[in-house]
Symmetry: C2
Subunit: 222 residues, 2 copies
């Protein structure tokens, strides 16, 4: 079965909004898709007709198994293309999302499998988000806000909660990338900022806002 770009975008949005609340509200979908609630109601009925979602009037919508599978296929394509754009075509991570929004709708099983192979079966995209494998399986990795981490423990940046050029500039300034190791040294109650050391260099202070946006995993050993 082939789906339109609009249908695919709805399915993807439902998937993402479901992570926060099991039943997705019409208004939330409308907000996420930059469209009107009335349009959402129409489309959701069509998706129910195509057996991709469960839906009850006035209650909300959620993906069924088929919808979840489709969502993961689209997300797989989106994130593989993002990885390609950054790692092969030398895009900045703040430049890839819009292009991937288009590329994710190109329909060719062989294209995506060969792309995956060419890229070496990457498991995380440039923002640290997991790339579903062919079967839709997502690799797990901790993504804890740097802000809340205990002092002195070694941590590794695993993802960013935002893809803006402004964040990319900030991280460039601090020489932080995905994979960079950091430790929290102190927390300041005045403004919520924290002092960290980046890869054993001299300590720097980063804002509360930045510390909330950076996600880390805890490194056990050492």
């Amino acid at each position: 079965m082939l789906y339109t770009i609009a249908e695919e975008n709805y399915i993807k949005s439902v998937y993402h909004l479901q992570q926060q609340s099991a039943l997705v509200a019409t208004n939330h979908l409308a907000e996420a898709l930059q469209t009107q609630p009335a349009s959402v109601t129409d489309m959701v009925k069509k998706l129910m007709g195509k057996k991709l979602v469960h839906y009850e009037r006035y209650k909300g919508v959620r993906l069924n198994a088929a919808g979840k599978k489709l969502a993961l296929q689209i997300i797989r394509k989106h994130r593989l293309w993002e990885y390609f754009l950054v790692n092969t075509l030398e895009f900045g991570w703040d430049e890839v999302h819009e292009v991937a929004e288009q590329l994710e709708h190109v329909s060719s099983a062989k294209l995506i499998e060969q792309l995956d192979r060419f890229l070496g079966h990457p498991r995380f995209d440039p923002h640290g988000d997991p790339i579903p494998d062919k079967e839709g399986k997502l690799a797990f990795r901790q993504r804890l806000p740097l802000l809340d981490q205990p002092h002195l423990k070694w941590l590794e940046i695993t993802a960013v909660g935002d893809e803006s050029p402004a964040l990319l500039e900030m991280l460039g300034h601090h020489r932080i990338q995905l994979g960079t190791r950091v430790r929290v040294l102190r927390s300041f109650s005045f403004d919520g900022s924290i002092e960290i050391s980046v890869a054993d260099q001299k300590p720097v202070t980063i804002s509360n806002q930045l510390a909330k946006t950076l996600l880390v995993k805890i490194i056990d050993h050492d």
Copy 2:
């Protein structure tokens, strides 16, 4: 200015049909686009409204300068993607056209420039068709039917007039690729077949049909 996929496909079709006759007939466009003449008339009027074509009722349509520029941009994308699919993702040349039909509509100047750079600015696609450069310029190369060539002259396969799996299989059998050097040894009047030698190996006979489909350039030296 952004154009819809339908508009882009019409512009591309007009461009290709113009190579044969300066004024493109409604029925020819309808045939090429697998649609009805009435639909063509509607769209052509829209394209005239967007100042991409000249059009006179009952006469026919042709691209103006803006239309030609747009057509070459789309063809550039199509052929760069075909090159990518064959050379980077290891597609067969008979598998790329449909996928390129989708990829050519992805809109991102940076994407196509970086792709071009990554591929090393190729000047011909996997079928031997020239890839327009950023300014729309096409590299020239002879593409003469192998069938009509004088005996014993060294020739190089520059393009194929057909992209079918059947042709690809046939060429694989004869170890012929783009760039392969051949000479015509004899022509048989009975069925129009010709005897050729491929890269100095022992002579083989190929059908009239195949000899018409292979396009060559004449190698001056030797």
